[in-house]
Amino acid sequence: MNEIAIRFILNGKEVSVKAPPTFTLLRLLRERLGLTGAKAGCERGECGACTVILDGEPVTACLVLAPQVEGRRVETIEGIGNGEELHPLQQAFIDESAAQCGYCIPGMIMAAKALLDRDPGPSREEIKTGLSGNLCRCTGYTKIIKAVEVVAGKSRKGSESC
């Protein structure tokens, strides 16, 4: 299969990478760029483990073709901290013990980040909807939702997080 060059903005930096046009964005990230944070789960858009942010919106990287990201902005879990400090969501997931096996967590955090980027102070219901595309088979979700609430609570207007 002929490979093509794909140029895009990955975690704020311009990259150019060669891959077959039949690659998904998920394979491009994991197999050509060494970014294995986005996980392959169902690979049919139903589990959210591969969630990344594409031009500000959460998408399942298993359902995006690699050449579709040409010229666009992709954010992955690897890019959200600054290398020294964790992103507030990452810290909150640790503080609240929100991870068990951890496989779903990069996707959870990216879905939560997409939500908070758009609305820094969502309600509990809005958080649940924002995470409704991400499956976790360990936690029962309670601590995950709580972790996002902690971060959201710091921005919520005049209301205590529960």
């Binding site: 139903e46 924002g130 595309g133």
Partner: protein, 281 residues
């Protein structure tokens, strides 16, 4: 996955490519269905024609009392659009019942129609709105009433050389109220077992006209004409709603499959209608 990838820069170039491809070409919009089908070997197009960047197919506008939604408007963008929230709330409701935030960010209004699933969430709402589907090819443009667009499960009248470019419908009268009620296994990422959309226009206390559409209970989405006829001219009260509920269940033509049983679906079609009508009281 094995295919050639093409990304035309304009709608015109895309149509020319489709005309030359002789059918063995799959337009790629949101990819939420197509890429799954390719990966599972259900379809194997020689070429994937990436139309997802055709900006001319991403507009939502109202002109002379007609609302037009470009085929590439994502479900998320449709649900957030002020015009649709104000004038076609039932379509917004149906968009918000699709998949998950991720699927809604990618999946498109046009794609949901082209895939032609009888359980497609936006389809009953668009039946209720009396929508038309705009199909374009190098030889011309035609608008097909949505009820004539589907011919069976995953089948439509779209020719391989045509692109679905827009959905159009008359802006509902300001007094019209509608709903989309869906029953699935869970709230997110569930395919409808049965769904009901309706748009009701009232004059005073009485129903002037109503359009009801049932999803996932027949090879295509269907209307419920006897229920519509019964409701026309009547006042919506508990007695009328109860009668409409049983009529509607009788008009459902569900089958038993892996998602549900025929009898349950038929009864739930009636119930989902009744709940929607009660909310209008």
């Amino acid at each position: 996955m094995k295919f050639e990838y093409q990304r035309p820069a304009t709608l015109e170039a895309a149509l020319k490519f489709l005309a030359a491809a002789g059918g063995d070409c799959a337009p790629l919009a949101g990819g939420t269905d197509l890429l799954v089908m390719i990966q599972e070997g259900l379809v194997g197009p020689r070429t994937v024609l990436d139309i997802s960047r055709l900006e001319e197919l991403k507009n939502i506008r109202e002109e002379d009392g007609r609302i037009e939604i470009g085929a590439l408007v994502s479900h998320g963008r449709a649900a957030a659009a002020k015009l649709l929230r104000e004038k076609a709330a039932l379509l917004v409701e149906s968009c918000l019942q699709i998949g998950s935030p991720q699927i809604r960010a990618s999946g498109t209004i046009g794609g949901n129609l082209v895939m032609a699933s009888p359980s497609g969430d936006t389809i009953p709402a668009l039946y209720a709105l009396g929508a038309g589907v705009v199909l374009k090819s190098v030889t011309g443009t035609r608008t097909v009433a949505i009820e004539d667009f589907f011919t069976g499960v995953k089948k439509s009248v779209r020719r391989p050389d045509e692109l679905l470019t827009a959905i159009v419908f008359p802006a509902p009268e300001p007094s019209a109220r509608g709903f989309y009620n869906k029953l699935g296994q869970r709230k997110a990422l569930a395919i409808a077992k049965v769904s009901v959309a309706a748009l009701v226009t009232r004059k005073g206390e009485k129903v002037e006209k109503v359009r009801i559409a049932l999803g996932a209970v027949a090879p295509t989405v269907i209307r419920a004409p006897r229920t519509e006829e019964y409701l026309a001219g009547r006042k919506l009260d508990p007695e009328t709603i109860a009668a409409a509920r049983s009529l509607c269940a009788g008009e459902s033509r569900a089958i038993t499959d892996l998602r549900s049983t025929a009898g349950y679906r038929d009864r739930m079609a009636g119930l989902l209608l009744a709940r929607g009508l009660e909310d209008l009281l």
